[in-house]
């Protein structure tokens, strides 16, 4: 007791660290003896002490009486730190605080009412919704707006009609909050209820955002005209909302209902206004604007799109936008290349190859001599894509580039050109095959692969370097030539597991029943990944012997080998395999269960009913996620009631999102 009193006294020490340690010390005593001191610490002048008290109190099992006492701290007029700390503890109490909070939404003190409403929103319990709907009529404006905001935060659809009813109230602040809340709830709403507010200067942004969340095809004309708004933030909101609605539509509908309206903006001042919108740090908005610019297809956007490629988050959207613009950008790229920075030169050369821009050959010749390796690499790869056989001597030079990526790019380019100039590429490959550097011999293997020269590849399979052997086997496998079976069987005894894996996989693609015996022997390989490769191929080659071997393996297998064995069973099919797959649904390893589900789904939906309940309630989120997706794929619209039931019971956000998407798809 003496020590407890010391700790309580220490809370009055002028030293912050002493007070913080005192709070930690109080955790060793029953709450009944420390409650007053801990509540006092919630109002300490130091944030470190307050935070420590919040942490400690959040771990305690609060009685309703104690929660009531905590609520009274919200009345502390002169200590904002204490009020905020009390709010934090109440929010962290979560569901436990729910019954105590209910009556305080009608407290006489408007500050307390507002705090309570904010806490309710943060806890997000559905029982708060009717109370918050009542609070929409609170005489205090701060409180009613807080009720609107927190109804949005909870996201319950029961709030939609009461919020829409309030929209007529001529209070801009309240209307703004309602638009935001409706957007967060995101339940479809009649566009006519929101549209008039888009005419109000202060509400434009919120109205467009709301339309993006609650509107459908009928919101498109309003949002298209919103792209020309004077205020940048309203324009951005319109672009974001339009892109969001366009994204949710099937591609055919978007092409009919949205894209013509966007293409009409080509050559208009709206394009410049949209380009201005890119100067925001908000990546989601920038992405939306880029996508819209791509559909519009105006050359003026090319510069900004090129710069946008510099940001990895925007790159894919910018590249798609360029693709949508097509050959009209060739003059722009040619002009821009010579003043562009290193990164932009990479992108330009990449685009030339990807878009097949035949007019850019001089630019690519320059690119292959660029000081930056990444540019040389993109340029040489583009030469291959464009089929520029005249550049073969320049490409061969790059096989000796000091940069590994450039050398690799040169091989890729030559492989692409093999069909167009077989003789030239053959000549290069033959020289490389005898190089003393293993990397060059690996390159030779790739080129012989492109030339479909199995004889030369089989020689490289006997190379002294393991990486060359592995590449040769892999390349031979890619050719899927049955005549190579003998070579591949020999590679099964290679001392390197990587070579054995490549050979085993290749046999599954190319060989016939004659390879089964060798693959069965490989099931005893010391390396589990070799065993996996053998199982995969056995699954493809099928047969009674193979099925029996897989069944035997299943007895003791686990992890990757178990999964490979199940996959082999799935490939083999038949009633026996079906039973074994169903047994695997009860496996402890979630990856095994997911694999078994996918394989069972290939043969139809008859297994769903038997295992539905167990799989919807499976402890692993990944299994649940996988199951609901398969169920929807197999049953289509019929899955609706089961999906809704699963949604009610689901706790994981990713799975919930997946179920909602699936329900949307079929409704």
């Amino acid at each position: 007791m003496y020590k407890l009193q010391n700790l309580k006294d220490a809370l009055f020490s002028p030293d912050e660290e002493t007070r913080r340690l005192a709070v930690i010390g109080l955790s060793e005593y029953p709450i009944a003896k420390t409650k007053g001191s801990l509540f006092q610490a919630l109002g300490d002048a130091s944030w470190r002490v307050r935070k420590e008290a919040v942490e400690l109190l959040s771990r305690i099992d609060f009685s309703p009486g104690m929660t009531e006492e905590l609520v009274t701290l919200l009345r502390s007029q002169d200590n904002a730190g204490m009020r905020n700390a009390a709010v934090e503890v109440l929010v962290r109490l979560g569901e436990k605080a729910v019954p105590v909070l209910h009556p305080y939404v009608k407290d006489a003190d408007h500050d307390v009412r507002k705090f309570i409403i904010d806490i309710m929103g943060s806890i997000g319990n559905a029982s708060f919704v009717p109370l918050l709907i009542d609070a929409l009529d609170d005489p205090d404006a701060n409180v009613s707006v807080a009720a609107v905001e927190n109804l949005g935060k909870i996201g319950d659809h029961r709030a939609v009609d009461p919020l829409l009813n309030l929209l007529d109230k001529p209070d801009v602040w309240l209307q703004y909050a309602i638009l935001e809340a409706l957007g967060r709830i995101a339940v479809p709403v009649q566009v006519s209820a929101i549209a008039p507010l888009a005419a109000h200067g202060l509400l434009k942004k919120a109205a467009y955002e709301c339309l993006g969340a609650v509107g459908g095809i009928e919101a498109v004309p309003i949002l298209l005209s919103g792209l020309g708004e004077k205020a940048k933030n309203a324009r951005r909101a319109a672009a974001f909302a339009l892109d969001k609605i366009r994204d949710t539509m099937p591609a055919r509908i978007a092409e009919e209902a949205v894209d013509p309206g966007l293409r009409e903006l080509q050559g208009t001042p709206v394009v410049e206004l949209l380009l201005e919108c890119l100067s925001t740090p908000d990546t989601a908005v920038r992405k939306a604007v880029v996508k819209i610019l791509g559909v519009i297809g105006d050359k003026r956007a090319a510069g900004e799109l090129l710069r946008g490629c510099g940001d990895y988050r925007l790159r894919s959207c910018c590249l798609q936008a360029f693709q949508a613009m097509g050959e009209i950008i060739t003059p722009f790229l040619e002009k821009e290349y010579y003043d562009a920075d290193e990164g932009e030169r990479c992108i330009i050369t990449y685009l030339c190859g990807e878009m097949g821009l035949q007019g850019c050959t001089s630019l690519l010749a320059q690119g292959m001599l660029d000081a930056l390796p990444a540019v040389r690499k993109e340029a040489v790869v583009a030469c291959g894509k464009l089929g520029l056989v005249d550049f073969i001597p320049d490409i061969i030079d790059l096989l000796d580039d000091f940069d590994e990526d450039v050398r690799e790019g040169a091989v890729v380019a030559l492989a692409r050109l093999a069909e167009l100039d077989k003789k030239a590429v053959e000549g290069v490959a033959e020289v490389l095959a005898f190089d003393k550097d293993p990397e060059k011999r690996r390159d030779a293997a790739h080129l012989f692969g492109a030339l479909k020269d199995t004889e030369r590849l089989s020689l490289l399979m006997k190379d002294e370097d393991v990486t060359v052997r592995k590449t040769a086997v892999g390349t031979l496998a890619d050719l899927k030539n049955k005549a190579s079976t003998g070579h591949l069987l020999m590679a099964l005894v290679d001392e390197d597991p990587e070579v054995r894996i490549s050979a085993a996989l290749a046999l599954g693609e190319t060989a016939g029943a004659d390879a089964v015996d060798s693959l069965l022997l490989l099931l005893k390989d010391e390396n589990p990944w070799v065993r996996c490769a053998a199982l995969k191929s056995l699954g493809k080659l099928k047969g009674r012997k193979a099925l029996h071997a897989v069944e035997t393996i299943l007895e003791n297998a686990e992890g990757a080998v178990m999964i490979a064995a199940i996959e082999a069973l799935g490939e083999m099919g038949g009633g026996r395999a079906q039973g074994l797959l169903e047994r695997a649904l009860r496996n402890e390893d979630e990856e095994v269960v997911k694999t078994a589900m996918s394989l069972l789904a290939r043969n139809g939906e008859q297994w769903l009913g038997k295992y539905r309940e167990a799989l919807i309630l499976h402890p692993n989120w990944g299994v649940r996620n996988h199951f609901v997706k398969l169920m929807a794929d197999l049953m289509g619209k019929e899955a609706g009631p089961y999906l809704r039931k699963a949604l009610e019971r689901e706790v994981d956000d990713l799975v919930k999102g997946q179920i909602r998407d699936l329900l949307e798809r079929y409704e």
């Binding site: 700790l7 988050r313 990164g343 993109e378 990757a560």
Partner: protein, 293 residues
Amino acid sequence: MIFSAESEISMSDEEFRLIRDLIHSHCGIFFDHDTKYLLEKRLCKRLALLRIGSFREYYHFLKYNRGSDHELSDLMDVLTTNETYFFRESFQLKAFTDEIIPEIKARKEKIGDRELRIWSAGCSTGEEPYTIAMLLLDMQCFNDWRIEIVGTDISHRVLHHARKAVYGRSSFRTTQSYHVRRYFTEQDECFRIADQVKRLVTVSHLNLFDENRVVLLGKMDVIFCRNVIIYFDQIAKKRVVETFYKTLREGGYLLLGHAESLLNTSTAFALRHLKNDMVYQRPYTGEKSGSRL
């Protein structure tokens, strides 16, 4: 800007979460959903190298492979960005040389302790620990002291660079010519760091989640951990900051990046408002009981 073409294999949300969670439990680095594209693009290179055809298979490779520590290490090389340079965040370094070091030195001299130990956690290619060494050499008041600067990182690739200690021009964007002349020798358009600097620095591989190995580093007087914990989620941050607390001597300093703070992460450190910067300090507790650490 480094450009690379688009990923050829796409990653589903489920695969993203599985791989993300696996990386997180390995080292605390957390990828939020916005970075899925980045993760997908960078991992594609690993898939191609391993001849793996899908992210699901790659996840299995990490989950079931006994040698996955090696793959996770290679993965870290691909995922972590390591751009840094000498004498970065000069105001903080001024606080270090003008305020923190004199205070620690005076305190140690009083008790006859002549050892100074500094940890650069997440040292990347080594510019930070070598900067610290140069600053201490500049001070010319540690002649009879035992100075040890330990630089650690999770990526083997950057540590190789740090050990080689040869730097290109981009590492010198804020370095005065005086330092270049005094502590570097030019070599094929690059600069090799002088042995007197290198002697003070030890570079080592370390996962900040590996508490046992951190203990082996021993107690520190100052920890630099700049722009590292931004990649961690809240739980991982708490865990790593607690490790730092345990590793620091009482009165020792923790220097984070200028955009980083311990608000909502830890109350264990006191915030010191120095003239040149705000820094965190492990408070003196002396014999006081009640410390949970």
